[in-house]
Symmetry: D3
Subunit: 278 residues, 6 copies
């Protein structure tokens, strides 16, 4: 996390004249950040950057991606009381939000792993301003971040097909893409999936298909000898309930915006204890 | 929304070289933003700022705080296809995230309204970087934003009590506060609630009390003639299930971090149609 | 002070290629910042942030709000000569400007204290870009900062009355305000003062009234039983000469833009001494 | 003024959720900015940049540097009421602060002009963050801005002399300076003035000399044939009272930090009138 | 180009008080930007963003990637003289620098095209702060931008091999990579090229090999049946003289840092003509 | 270099999720930055700021402006491998680019020194965003940076002459200039040179004259007794081949945009060695 980002986040939470924190006697205190529920932790490095900013000494007890249980300590802290009060909400807001994403991702990954080796991936449906952190939370949960932004790889979506047709879109993408980039085509039919695969896209994304449509499409790709030449991804309407059904279809990637937009914060808290006069 | 903010959000989503949007023929197109579920809309002005940035003509069909139903149109748009593709995800991410918060807030407000005139309020548990927008979503949902940052009003919390004692904390707050600011004290017992009210704080927040403890505390305040001298707020452990119970306790404000951290995005989408060569 | 702010201020004073400071041999030197007149010091923490940026060791001899006399030392410094030369003007500009405000504020506060317990407060008439520092200087002088910005509390001013009428404005403000915010109404007559107080605003500001009009208005508020339900503030045309007259009217707050916009800088200087080869 | 600067100033004055301005019905209104005292106006272009930002139509009645009298109109405005309320304080803060500097500068310039052709110049004693605007106000008042920052020209000051001696400092400055830059040496004695002029500095600044010492030093420079080879500047302890005495000494530049740090704001105000429903 | 970027570039060129441009009578003028040498133009959109910022009307005569000859007009402009003077150097600095890169790239691409279908690609050796524009210049010249930053695709370089061994590095990269990313391994021997290709990297980069070593390595890859499973890139020591030799080796990508770091600016100029009083 | 600048440069090179550097085991390593060709080094302080940012210990073996030979070490480094990989490209991009400019400048300075004491100077033809660093590279090479931006000194160029005439332009410049600024006039004829010198400009720049025209103009200035009253600069069409001819004309300054826009990067590299487990 860049210092400029931290300062923007701090300014948002502190405002211009924070009496609330300033009014306490500035003694040295110890504190712990701990979980108030079972969860997969994410955001540990973000929290450390915040602690560093406020000159808070910390011992990290858990790394991103580790499971903790209710009452487990995530950080032991030591610093002036004013610094601790100022770092408290911002660090917890990150830890809570990101651990919530990591926890939901882990649930999905584990559900998939029971029946498949498919990868669970995020999308660009992320909270504006903190995408990089939410993607890291998905990784902490065992998921794949998918592309970070529109420039990372080229994706042909429904609007591209509507405007210029799938074939033209793929031709144009291949013409414009760097050799370092993958090209992905979102399709809604087996015919288009075969067309895209045959034209050499790296990833075919089956959009809003039912599990049986997916199975049928994968079979057709196999029949055409294209199954191993392309990564097959599915997306659309997949949730924790029906995830297993999709996982069993033999595809390689399941992308779910809900990893982020349906995640609820994990509950973490900071508790101060032991005050020493400076 | 400041232009500098918009540019940061856009940079996050576009990256350094966005072929995905650029590759389409840049014709003029019409599009609609519409709801794919019933929800309370929020973020309309944020979306407009994004559309303005991309020189997209828009007609707003719905204002912040209005309920829409599945398939209702929120915006009618007209612009170049490249601009539409670039504005799509960012505007939807805001609309989806903020409408989710507004929808959950409205649910809570309506539940409370059935049995009370209490206000439903947010907290500082917000996603870093976009607090101002999330607070506006709470307002759109009918809730109270509570303070925007630590400088807005002075709040004495558990850590203050632990460090310096409630009485000292209130004295210090009154000494340091501007006459334009309210002082709020979070307490965990009726005794402390009475002490705080007697010392003249503007708001007493009963933290983590059960409904019956709250009722008892309110009665004690009344008995001491302090009931009308202080705003009584409750917080802690309140969710959509038990909300009504709290609403019936006669308090004035129910603050719930969950308005934001348990909200799930509303589902909105953009559909392009009608392409005209430039 | 955020590092980003410091860097902007430094860039302003140094430009792109500062030979003036660079050309001296970079030995270690000692220096003092001292007062060249009696004054109340403000800006000490701002200066420290600047010294920290330039890796200057400092001993603070005086805290914000303390009175110093001509020749009193405010800081003892030790650092490389180049750093001292670079920090000199910026730190003195802050100390001089802010101590000037603190000194004028203290004069006003002491004048008021001789005949009243009224609070002396600033306004939003501040130098663009450094309001937070000027408000802190008012606090150092013993004054009240009043609201830091338009979002801090709601103030109904003459233009609001003109556009929508006082009563409508108060109704609207009460509808829109968070329970954490105070509402202030600026009025020009006793009738309006009574109306505002009766409608429950927290602060009534009597604008541009003479002392005798103020006394009369306060009496009418008492007569209506509203005197203790509202904070009475006066503003407009108050200066160091007539301040005492206003202080004696029994109001609670006297706000004066002139604390900032009529303040003249206090005279402080930096003197280097004792150079040691590195 | 850059848009990024404007947005920072606006953010400072508006905060995160400005109900005060938002609560009025957003009709179209006319307004005037007018003077409440005689003064020299400065900051007109800054105000225009702010009006542009808020889409306010304006007619400028006065240019920077023009004298206005009490009640003279500086701007006629037309815009939505919300925009006018939001632009009001920020534009007035600039106009008041800068016109105050221009007015004091003009007073000094006129006092000097009665007995001399000397130039009145500012220094680097400026309010952090807005130096460029304060320098423009000095220009509007008829003064010379002097260097904008440490990189503009090279100035050898007392600390340079103390550290490395005047002769060495001049040698070093001449070695390091670009041919596009002037070199200025601050001296405290006629001997040093002659040394500096002989070594070829462009400007000699006589620091803290009495008028008679200045006259004597200028004569010595003439005697050495150096009078026309160097610009003679005086500074230190010059104020509106003794300015004429210094002006008569035959020097070319009188620099006064007090143009800025002793200036008091001019009184300007905005008045709205005529509301039309949108 | 984001407005914030433009403002930073403008601030760099204008400084705090630009008399040079301001001093001309601000009449409306026409101007042309024209080439003073044959070159491939790049930076046209960057220039347009600058013209837009200064409210300059422009007609673009040439698009990025087109060849122009000495005296060809690139832009016809119409605006106030002050705006034209302010936009002149910044727009020309971009056009000159970027067209220089495009021209050198085009030379290399044409040299390669005479004997091969290989792609000419840039590297991360770019001027800090303007990589995105330099990469676009490479594209304008007909080259491939290669990855824009370290996050775009994963590249295993000599230091990775030294630290963890090629095999471990590839295993780690495959474990950490998103399915949307390509993995590239830089190798110095045919053995390593075969290892990397067999392990499934997408791109093998043969570093600092002679043309005959490259030919031999490609043959060995073919012999192992790996030739079509991997993109073969060469880099290191390739310049305009020996480029053809490399192009004939049958590889697919030739990457050359020199496209950017050996490019010299193309010579473009702005000429004003026809002044009309405003 | 300001921290904000460093962070912008780092963000450009790292992107949002840099696996490439992160994937190595983070042991402590030693490394050297060394030259792969003879060159004059520049950018050492920039590199140090980058190393500081990444907590890399460094020993500087060479200062800006020193000549190094192929294989000479510029920095010895010690740090974690991840930090070294992240700092590598950015520091080398600066060192390579700036050392290239310093090397070309030194070549020109040495060529001039063989026949003249003339100064070699840069222009405003610099790469947008890093002018301050490129100017420092010119200084490291022994050249003069000329003005850093339009505000540094006033320069009357061809477009000024065309718009308002040379005489008017000089009058206007003298009216508007601060006494701390020099005025430079670019002319194309001896007549104009004499006019400008007689009117008191500080620098006359002979634009695009042949060596013999320059000699003739200098003689005419001497004949008019103006030769010692003005700095004579030449510019336009001067390159490494014809530089000596210009140097012999007796002028004082030769300014060449090509110092920067024709410079090619010097070749420097970083080599890691010696890994120690943390």
């Amino acid at each position: 996390m860049l210092r400029e980002q931290i300062e923007n986040f701090i300014r948002e939470d502190l405002g211009y004249h924070d009496i609330s924190c300033q009014m306490v006697p500035d003694t040295i205190a110890e504190a712990v950040v701990f979980a108030k529920q079972d969860c997969v932790v994410a955001g540990v490095e973000v929290a450390e950057a915040i602690f560093d900013y406020f000159d808070i000494e910390y011992t990290r007890m858990v790394a991103d991606g580790e499971k903790v249980q209710n009452n487990d300590v995530v950080f032991e802290l030591k610093a002036g009381t004013v610094s601790l009060l100022r770092a408290e909400r911002l660090s917890l807001n990150f830890l809570g939000h990101l651990s919530g994403i990591a926890t939901l991702t882990r649930d999905c990954v584990e559900a998939v792993n029971q029946c498949s080796e498919a990868v669970v991936a995020a999308t660009r449906k992320t909270t504006p301003g903190i995408r990089e952190f939410e993607k890291l939370a998905v990784i902490a949960g065992g998921g794949d971040p998918h592309r970070f932004n529109l420039s990372d790889s080229i994706m042909i979506k429904d609007n591209h097909r509507n405007i210029m047709g799938l074939e033209n879109a793929i031709l144009k993408a291949k013409e414009m893409a760097s050799f370092t980039q993958k090209i992905e085509a979102e399709v809604e039919s087996a015919t288009d999936a075969i067309l895209a695969a045959r034209m050499g896209v790296d990833i075919v994304m089956l959009d809003n298909m039912t599990p049986s449509e997916i199975i049928s499409t994968v079979e057709k790709l196999s029949h055409e000898g294209l199954r191993n030449k392309v990564i097959v991804e599915v997306s659309g309407g997949i949730n924790t309930e029906n995830l297993a059904e999709y996982a069993k279809t033999g595809i390689v990637v399941i992308s779910m915006g809900s990893l982020i937009h349906k995640a609820q914060w994990a509950d973490l808290s900071m508790e101060m204890k032991g005050y020493f006069m400076p």
